[in-house]
């Protein structure tokens, strides 16, 4: 008994140590910071800078999905929705800002025959308002959808299917020209960012650096979260939700909170992505993009935040390269990667380095 008390009181508990000691996350955060510094000191060719910035935005998106899928067991096949909310609001800001400075209305507004921007665009030329609106909107949509699902205990594959349906409905909505957000052409031709001409080397570098720094911050803070007491409840909820409930915890509140947080991180990724590609259209709401996000996470290593980043960068890096070199082969390569991971590496590429044992929760179906 006294031995047990000593064990219990001695030193920091396991999770505290684990939270700090994640060499993978620490290494990736360091890499992001180093890359950001490198871009500022000696920027390479703008297209490379731009590609790096886009990869960082995708990595943030992957982290947001891993947070709910890997740590809470909620597979969203509709995370493109939150990414798109961030992207669309960002695009609206860029166009409203451009119109306010230059006095020229965006192309799609002129095509629609409108004399001014619709009323709900009011104030979007102010960046802080647009930023808050994007996150709040993503959080709100996630909250309503999450509350309805988690309260009525919609779980597992049913939740995944409904999340997929949701992103599809949003895509149909955005394809309509009357929705007022550019219809199937989407929104493009952003003239300015904070008053600077879009596409100038400084803006390209600035955006990439911002994406890298955001990735580093998101990675570090989500790692702290999953290493905390809340993170342990997330793992407990993932592995046995009924057990956690019957110990007195409201899992609905836990799931809803993390779900909304994940949606807002995905929106942040969309905000960073759109100015770098210079366009947003309803394609980002296509179900296959949302499924692809899950593929990045699965390939990199589900339930390891560093794995999600590696998966996103690897798959998208390959895509940047191969979809230019041999575009017709890309779908086959992606499918082959998925099969390889499912059959050989159930925990993704991190299995190759033996980062952790096979999780029992993937095998037991209770």
């Amino acid at each position: 008994m006294s031995g047990a008390v000593q064990t219990a009181l001695a030193g920091p508990a396991g999770p505290a140590r684990r939270a700090v000691r994640d060499p993978l996350v620490a290494g990736l955060v360091g890499l992001c910071l180093a890359a950001a510094a490198g871009l500022l000191v000696a920027p390479p060719a703008p297209y490379l800078v731009n590609a790096l910035g886009q990869l960082a935005a995708f990595a943030i998106l992957a982290v947001s999905l891993d947070l709910v899928w890997g740590y809470l067991g909620i597979l969203s096949l509709g995370h493109g929705l939150f990414f798109a909310i961030g992207g669309y609001v960002c695009a609206m800001h860029l166009l409203a800002h451009g119109a306010a400075v230059t006095g020229v209305l965006p192309d799609f507004v002129q095509f629609m025959g409108w004399k001014s921007l619709p009323a709900y665009w009011a104030g979007l030329d102010h960046a802080p308002y647009a930023f808050v609106l994007a996150l709040a909107l993503a959080g709100l949509v996630a909250f309503v959808f999450g509350l309805a699902s988690f309260r009525s205990r919609v779980n597992g594959v049913y939740f995944s299917i409904i999340s997929q349906a949701l992103v599809y409905v949003a895509m149909l909505l955005m394809y309509r020209n009357d929705t007022g957000l550019g219809g199937n052409n989407g929104m493009t031709g952003f003239p300015l960012l904070f008053g600077w001409p879009m596409g100038s080397p400084g803006v390209v570098t600035g955006l990439a650096v911002a994406a890298l720094l955001t990735l580093a911050a998101i990675l570090a803070s989500t790692r702290l979260l999953v290493g905390s007491a809340i993170g342990r409840r997330m793992l407990a909820c993932r592995d046995d939700e009924t057990r956690l409930r019957t110990l007195g915890y409201s899992t609905t509140r836990l799931k809803l909170g993390i779900w909304c947080l994940s949606a807002m991180i995905a929106a942040l990724a969309g905000i960073l992505y759109v100015p770098q590609v210079g366009i947003i259209n309803p394609r980002v709401l296509a179900p296959d993009l949302s499924i692809e996000i899950a593929v990045w996470v699965a390939i990199g290593g589900l339930g390891r935040l560093g794995g999600a980043v590696i998966g996103a960068i690897l798959v998208n890096g390959l895509k940047f390269w191969l979809s230019a070199a041999m575009p017709e082969a890309w779908p086959f390569i992606l499918s082959g990667l998925v099969l390889l991971v499912v059959l050989v590496l159930p925990n993704g590429l991190l299995d190759l380095v033996g980062w952790r044992p096979r999780p029992t929760w993937l095998r037991s179906s209770r």
Binding site: G14, T246, L247
Partner: protein, 236 residues
């Protein structure tokens, strides 16, 4: 006052009636065993008490005021009810210590947790295994860890669903001793078990269920003498 009153409880799954107007009352400080053949409705009874299943009719009163059939699982747990599941239900990704920490429940202040966890580790004898992930424990260790998790919140009503299933004779005897130690004037314990020797060792009274109905209630010795009970269960 009674610790737990189950009043004319009826549960149906489609056209199958799992519990048919079952009633029982457990006193504070009592250890009650519920026995009966497979399909008698024992686990369903625990499912209703812990809020996982809602009944068609009837009430389950905790103390004199709380009707558990109208509460969620988390609210029932907060009212002081804890359940050990039949299949050892621990969180495999978390260590023994982290499992016990969660077992303390959301209400216990952080400063009281280390002492509570330490005393539980001592009680269940897993002190040396405190930093091991629960997924790597042996079956018996998982059973004990789950008992520790449900005890960590000092429940007023403890529900144990086959706590010695799959345990060795030594482990069964240790578990019986543990349950006898858990007996307190302000705590009621409801045990479901197939092992008659174990039931005899721990229970004050037994309730025999058969096909969703109460067949017998009273002492274990009385149950052994009851012809109907012998016929459906003990006599086999």
């Amino acid at each position: 006052m009674t610790a737990l009153v189950v009043d004319a409880l009826t549960v149906a799954f489609g056209r199958f009636t799992a519990l048919d107007a079952v009633s029982l009352a457990v006193d504070p400080g009592e250890v009650r065993a519920v026995i009966g053949p497979n399909g008698a409705g024992k686990t369903t009874l625990l499912d209703v008490i812990s809020g996982i299943t809602k009944p068609v009719s009837g009430r389950v009163m905790l103390g004199d005021h709380i009707d558990l059939t109208k509460r969620s699982e988390a609210e029932i747990a907060k009212a002081g009810v804890r359940r050990k599941f039949q299949k050892p239900s621990v969180f495999p990704a978390l260590t023994v210590r982290e499992n016990l920490e969660i077992g303390c429940g959301p209400a216990l202040p952080a400063r009281d947790r280390p002492a509570r966890i330490a005393s539980m580790l001592g009680e269940i004898g897993l002190g040396p295994r405190a930093e091991v992930p629960a997924g790597r424990l042996a079956h018996g260790e998982k059973q004990w860890l789950e008992i520790g998790m449900v005890l960590a919140a000092e429940p007023a009503l403890l529900l144990l669903d086959e706590p010695v299933a799959g345990l060795s004779d030594t482990e069964t005897a240790q578990t019986a001793a543990l349950i006898r130690r858990l007996r307190r004037p302000d705590r009621a314990i409801l045990v479901i078990e197939h092992d008659m020797g174990f039931v005899e060792a721990i229970a004050d009274r037994v309730t025999v269920l058969h096909e969703g109905r109460t067949l017998y209630e009273g002492s274990m010795a009385g149950a052994r003498a009851e012809p109907q009970v012998i016929e459906v269960f003990l006599g086999r």
